[in-house]
Amino acid sequence: MPTWGCLGLQDSASPLMEQLTYFHDHTMFILILITTLVGYILINSTLNSLINRFLLENQEIEIIWTVLPAIILIFIAMPSLRLLYLLDETNNSSITIKTIGHQWYWSYEYSDFLDVEFDSFMAPYSIDSNLRLLDVDNRIPIPLNTQIRLIISAADVIHSWTIPSLGVKADAIPGRLNQVSFLVNRPGLFYGQCSEICGANHSFMPILIESISVDSFLNWVSSNP
């Protein structure tokens, strides 16, 4: 979950999010390199007293400052494309969960073995529950280290289901089923918030995944009518 003054990405809870974080760091490194170089050139050009009145058409430097950015872009594009295809790989998911966005709550269905359905509303704030706009009344239990298939849709207007620390986001569109696949590799609570404007309480329909051991998950499913 985000903490105060959180400038960067949240710590990842999923191998794909780990890869996304690494890619972000790699690209940020390149961007800082470019910014430093350009900043140095700017300052140097401004503060020196050299004048060239006849500067026209220098072919060598034009070639250099076309080829060099192209090479830098290749260094960015290669990991980017690798990650793009990695995110789209087919997985053999062990369990399928459905989530439907409503105005203004999410409902979840676990219909693989027993029919478990519940709604998840935002919990009102108090110092005891103490995470304003993030806590919910019914969390989504997810078994650890299990490939999950999540099918997302909506009942009324477009919503968007997301958990930043898992690197998952997909629009919930009425009349359409969107599928995402993820795996949670550490236990804990992972928070998200609706990410598509859906009306007055768009900011007040959070998502909360509770990642638990497989045993605990099976206990929960069987004990929930």
Binding site: W4, Q10, D11, I127, N130
Partner: protein, 177 residues
């Protein structure tokens, strides 16, 4: 012949050009007055510009007077015979500013900085007014006790244990690392 109209047209255009140039020359003289044209200058037009990177303007700065003409004749002999005042007069006849005057700092930065700071402080006054009269109060969760409770819960949950907040907490010791 079919070419004859073309020749006549070419001739007419040439005559037009020449008359335009003569008119231009005449109006140039009337624009710069009695000043000599002494070179190409910045762009070939007979204009006076004080620029460090174009040190030789196209025309002299002041119009020729008999005094200056006399000095110019004296300038053709030994320069040691010229007094300092005469050298200065010759310079100022041909140029408006010296290089030192051209490069001298203008102090414009003081006005720019001053006006920027005045406008920024006006912005800050406006923000303070907005905070006092327009914005709602912050929610209860911003109070320090509430934030402490939230922090305690985050650490209890092990939120961001890799590089974030929980990685700074020593769970064995029950205190920050």
């Amino acid at each position: 012949m079919a070419l004859n109209p073309m020749y006549r047209r070419a001739l007419a255009l040439t005559i037009q050009q020449v008359s335009r140039q003569q008119t231009a020359a005449a109006s140039t003289v009337s624009k710069i007055g009695n000043r000599d044209v002494v070179g190409f200058g910045m762009n070939g037009t007979p204009s006076y510009i004080d620029r460090v990177d174009f040190p030789m303007p196209a025309i002299r700065f002041k119009e020729n007077t008999p005094d200056i003409q006399a000095l110019r004749e004296k300038e053709k002999e030994d320069w040691k015979k010229l007094t300092l005042e005469e050298k200065k007069a010759l310079y100022r006849a041909s140029f408006c500013q010296t290089f030192a005057e051209m490069k001298a700092p203008t102090g414009e930065w003081k006005s720019v900085l001053g006006i920027t700071l005045i406008l920024s402080s006006l912005g800050i006054w406006i923000y303070m007014w907005m905070k006092m009269y327009v914005y709602d109060d912050l929610p209860e969760s911003f109070k320090p006790e509430h934030q402490e409770a939230q922090l305690k819960r985050m650490i209890g949950l092990g939120a961001n244990p890799v590089q974030g907040i929980s990685s700074k907490w020593d769970y064995a010791k029950g205190d920050w690392k």
